[in-house]
Symmetry: C2
Subunit: 144 residues, 2 copies
DNA sequence: TATAAATAGGATAATTTTATCCGAAATAAA
DNA sequence: TTTATTTCGGATAAAATTATCCTATTTATA
């Protein structure tokens, strides 16, 4: 469904959100440990998220990654997915046709629409704050 | 969503179904041309589908691939996807956790369930005959 | 039986995705 | 200003996926 890079990006963002709520910056090392991902690869993904203005980085000593507290509830999963995997999950054809729309649909076009709209709905109605709260309350987990 | 191999497998199966309805066997060459896929790679995927007992192959002169007419309406998309991509689309965690279930859910577990069940529903309630008929009536297309 | 036509399958190559390594640049604090 | 810490970014490597090529095997027909 999502690429590995995207999975790491989502989990990293949640972990950063949790810490930013407490005013703490985190390093790729801490992040990778907490979400069980390869550190250097994760660092690359964090750079993508910085460039997409989803998270902030502070260079130098005492630096790290953070998210503005007031932004946490406004960052939707869809933004993270889009920054890393692009919009193919939204717009791409389920069977890989270059052109696939109402006028020239692939065999599963109509059936796929429902799935895709459910996915879209989920990605656009889930924000980082909800996910961070669930982790903090022990209702969900970032690894294992 | 699906691998390229799986996309080719689905389209190839539909094309074989269409032809089998008319009692015609088809070759990897014809299939690849019709679904716009690399021929040799498509042939490999056809072998997988043969091994999974989804399509039949007839070797030698006048051979080719076919599906028993009476089976066409019983072959579900889910069988094809499972034969090629396995069941990770059903059972895999959306964020790649090794263990992710009701007791130890990943952050998007609950939200993902709805999407997955919609997908599962679609794959299990779509059969090759429906898809073949849509192509034959011009309601959907295998390429472009 | 010989031949031509077709799938089967192994070996290999190209591409994409995932992952690692290392030095440069930035920055806070001593 | 020096030092330690940290992100940034380029180069490279490893692994997985996608794709190609060639030969062996099978089989219907002449």
């Amino acid at each position: 469904m999502f690429s590995k890079a995207c999975e790491y990006g989502i989990k990293a963002s949640i972990f950063i959100a949790i810490n930013s709520r407490d005013g703490r910056r985190v390093s790729p090392k801490e992040i990778a440990k907490e979400i069980d991902s390869p550190q250097a690869f994760t660092a690359k993904i964090l750079q993508d998220l910085v460039r997409a203005n989803i998270i902030n980085s502070v260079k130098g000593a005492y630096g790290g990654f953070e998210i503005d507290k007031k932004d946490i509830s406004n960052i939707k999963l869809s933004q993270i997915v889009n920054a890393i995997d692009g919009d193919k999950i939204y717009n791409g054809c389920g069977l890989g046709l270059h052109t696939c729309d109402e006028e020239h649909p692939c065999p599963v076009h109509d059936k796929f629409k429902i799935v895709r709209s459910e996915l879209k709905n989920m990605l656009e109605n889930t924000n980082l704050e909800q996910l961070a709260l669930d982790i903090q309350s022990g209702a969900s987990f970032l690894k294992m």
